[in-house]
Symmetry: C2
Subunit: 261 residues, 2 copies
């Protein structure tokens, strides 16, 4: 059955993909924008060369100039307490915006670091603000994205506030899986770009606990782990373990022509 959707001509060789051609435009900032509006958004966006693993995109206290959208790869954001220990606040996949928490006072309250080779779109905030005044759909989408961020943080509070270690890791894996799926990747098989220590830190657990849980989940036939590679064998049961209403596979998903290896 043919999709009623227009076929987009995507040049895979092109390094700097315009928003119009970007496979992420259905889940990124451009959601809900028309062709001509997209053009104008595209014109304020800058695409620099990719970050290498462990490069910082920005550090705590850096002046805020731009929002960033992840194009490929992944980032973690984290705070550091005065005694130098870090708290991982989030992991960011393609199509997600980073830096929204800096709007408040023009300084980044968190640092952002590449977990692997990562390319980004740089969006000067002043331009974005001005443009969104002219493009209602952009304005609306920006507010929506921020609202979603608030929601996601609320979810995290539930996870940290009242879930057991087991439930936390299960939730985390299900959430990652869904996010990969949404982006057109496999939902049952993926690579973790972050270390056990990052995961533990993010979930409020010791890395040893994370490690133990991975082996336990594997023994119970829920998944298979090999180093960074995760294969979910029983997503449904993992969902039960996470004690969350795992929105099943009904969500919109990006069509990704050559991702069905």
């Amino acid at each position: 059955m043919p999709t009623r959707k227009l076929e987009k001509v995507v040049s895979l060789k092109e390094i700097k993909v315009a928003c119009q051609a970007c496979s992420l435009n259905e889940i990124c900032l451009p959601v809900g924008m028309g062709e001509t509006d997209l053009d104008r958004l595209d014109s304020i966006i800058d695409r620099k060369r990719p970050l290498a693993r462990n490069d910082h995109l920005f550090r705590i206290g850096d002046p805020f100039q731009c929002l960033y959208a992840v194009r490929s790869g992944s980032l973690k954001t984290y705070a550091t307490s005065e005694d130098g220990q870090e708290q991982v606040m989030g992991f960011h996949l393609p199509g997600e915006l980073v830096g929204l928490d800096a709007i408040a006072d023009g300084r980044h309250p968190l640092a952002a670091k590449a977990l692997e080779t990562t390319s980004l779109c740089e969006i000067p905030f002043a331009d974005l603000e001005a443009l969104s005044r002219q493009l209602p759909s952009l304005q609306h989408q920006l507010l929506r994205v921020m609202s979603q961020e608030i929601r996601a943080d609320e979810q995290n509070m539930v996870t940290l506030g009242q879930k057991s270690a087991e439930e936390r890791l299960a939730s985390f894996l299900i959430s990652l899986s869904s996010r990969f799926r949404r982006r057109g990747f496999s939902e049952n098989q993926f690579n973790l770009s972050m270390s056990r220590s990052d995961i533990g830190n993010y979930l409020g657990l010791a890395l040893e606990t994370v490690s133990r849980l991975f082996t336990r989940f594997q023994n119970e036939g829920l998944l298979r782990v090999d180093r960074k590679h995760i294969e979910l064998l029983d997503r449904a049961r993992l969902c039960m373990f996470s004690s969350a209403k795992c929105s099943s596979s009904e969500e919109p998903r990006i069509l990704r022509p050559n991702a069905s290896s």
Copy 2:
């Protein structure tokens, strides 16, 4: 001057203070707006009669039409899991906006319930969005407020993710104290409008733990508790306990002419 009941005198309770005259306009949505802009914002805002204790402002899943600013009193927002147990996500004091997490998909993901008699400003979101397109300062402030919310949630993640019970409660009290101060109330003495159970739930602790900590803090001379009333005796030391850089009393504060009684 004796108060007499005259036909033309509006009862105090029904006075609808315009944004221009509202003592909260320095910390609420109007921040940074000029007189005439304020007028226009004011014109879209509706002020209904107050909520009684335990009244719901909205429930989970309710369609999203309006944002609300607390004018007086306080609210809690909370989620409920399928098994019916609730997770308190936040407490909202005068000058704070509620409902920002509903913009994402037009439904409230949390319920909001009055902790005491609470009056609110109702702000139709569609109008706000339209108006903010015309008033850059309003647009900017809306984004700032949302960004602040994200930041606050990030703070909560740190609290839940890596603080001990003691540190959590200390952080909570310091944070409340600062927020009261900002609003022109005493920073060293205030009433908790929420129950121990709400506090515990919010902080990811059992209510028994909260209770024990209150008595412990009192025994250590940090504060005095009497039922709902809290008096901070040694804010500095409490700050140490919270292991957070407690921004001291240097922040802007609302002038409140007759609050010194």
